[in-house]
Symmetry: C2
Subunit: 153 residues, 2 copies
DNA sequence: CCACCACCCTAGAACAGTTCCAAAGATGGA
DNA sequence: TCCATCTTTGGAACTGTTCTAGGGTGGTGG
C-alpha cells in the first residue's frame, strides 16, 4: 500500500502480448496475491483498456464467479494508490487505465463511450492519431496545488 | 430548449462586471424567466465560476429561500442544453462553467478543489498562467464520434 | 505439520449525487 | 377571466461508490 518507488517498468506502447509483468511487479512488492486480485489484475491487462468498476466485475465474474463487487472496488483503488492504474472519470463514473508507463491522452466517442489512447504532440491531435473519429471537443484539466494550500501544508 | 444558434455574444475574458447579458439572451430566446431561474442564472454569472449543483442551490437559497434542489438541477441542465453553460466533472460531481464564449482549460487545486480558467497556447501551461499553482498533472480528453457510430447514424 | 495472526473477502447497509415523478402552482394568450 | 401549457416542488428512486462487521485465508514461526 506504500513506499516502493513507482518505477515505470514498461516503456511506452508495449502491445497487449505480455500477460504477467503487472502480476510479477505486484508480487515483488509484497502484495498478497489472491485468486480475486489476480483475476482483477488480469482483467486490467492490455492496450486501450478503460474499464469501469462494474465492467471489471462482470468480466472477473466469468472467470471467478464468487468474486464480490466490493473486492473489485477495493482492489482497483489499491492498484491506483500503488500507481499501477490510472483513474479518470467519464460521464460520472470512474474508469481505470492500466497504461501508466507513457503519458497519453484519451479519445472518447460521445456516442458509445469507446475510449482509445492517443499520443499527441500538441493539443490539436494530428490526423494520424484520430482513429477515424470526428472530433467534437477537447477537455483539458490541469491539476496542481494552489498557493493557499501550499502555504497551509 | 432548442434551435436558436448558439451565437457567442461575449468575446473572451469579459470580466465579471456585466450582470445581465445572460438573462437578456435567455429572454430573447423566449425562455420563461421565473424568479427561480433568474436567481440561478445570476448565481452562475462571473469569472472563474465553477459551481456544483449543491453550491448553486445554497447560494440561490440565500436569495430565494423557497427554491428547490430539483429546480436547480432542472435549470442547470437546461442551461447546458441551451449552450449557456458548460458542464464538466471533477471528483465525481458535475460542475458548471458560465464561460462558454472562449475556449479555455481548467486549473484545479487537488487539495481544495479551487478551479481557475486558463488559456494556454500549448498543453504545457506557461508560467504566467499558473496562478502560483504547483503543477502535478494534466488530463486531456478528446471527445468525438467514432467511425462505427458515424456509420450507424 | 500446526497454530496463529494479520490481512483479505463478502454481503449488505449506508451514502452522495442526480434524475424521475405526480401533483400543485404560476404564467401568459385568447 | 379562463384555460392550456409550462414550471416548480418534495419525495421517491436510481446509480455508482464506500463503509462495516463478521467470517475466511495465506503464510510464517514454532
Amino acid at each position: 500500500m506504500e513506499s516502493t518507488p513507482l518505477v515505470a517498468v514498461g516503456c511506452g506502447r508495449t502491445g497487449g502480448l505480455t500477460l504477467t509483468p503487472l502480476i510479477d511487479r505486484l508480487r515483488d512488492r509484497g502484495w498478497r496475491l489472491t485468486a480475486q486480485r489476480r483475476v482483477i489484475a488480469e482483467t486490467m491487462t492490455g492496450e486501450h483498456v478503460h474499464l469501469a468498476a462494474d465492467e471489471v466485475f462482470e468480466r472477473a465474474r466469468t472467470v471467478l464467479p464468487e468474486v464480490s463487487l466490493a473486492t473489485v472496488y477495493n482492489t482497483l483503488n489499491e492498484l491506483v494508490s500503488l500507481g499501477e492504474l490510472r483513474e479518470f472519470t467519464h460521464e460520472g463514473r470512474k474508469r481505470y487505465d492500466p497504461n501508466v508507463a507513457d503519458r497519453h491522452h484519451h479519445l472518447v466517442c460521445v456516442a458509445c463511450g469507446r475510449t482509445l489512447d492517443v499520443h499527441p504532440d500538441d493539443p490539436g491531435l494530428p490526423a494520424d492519431q484520430r482513429h477515424g473519429f470526428e472530433l467534437l471537443d477537447v477537455e483539458v484539466t490541469f491539476r496542481g496545488r494552489c498557493p493557499d494550500c501550499t502555504a497551509a501544508a
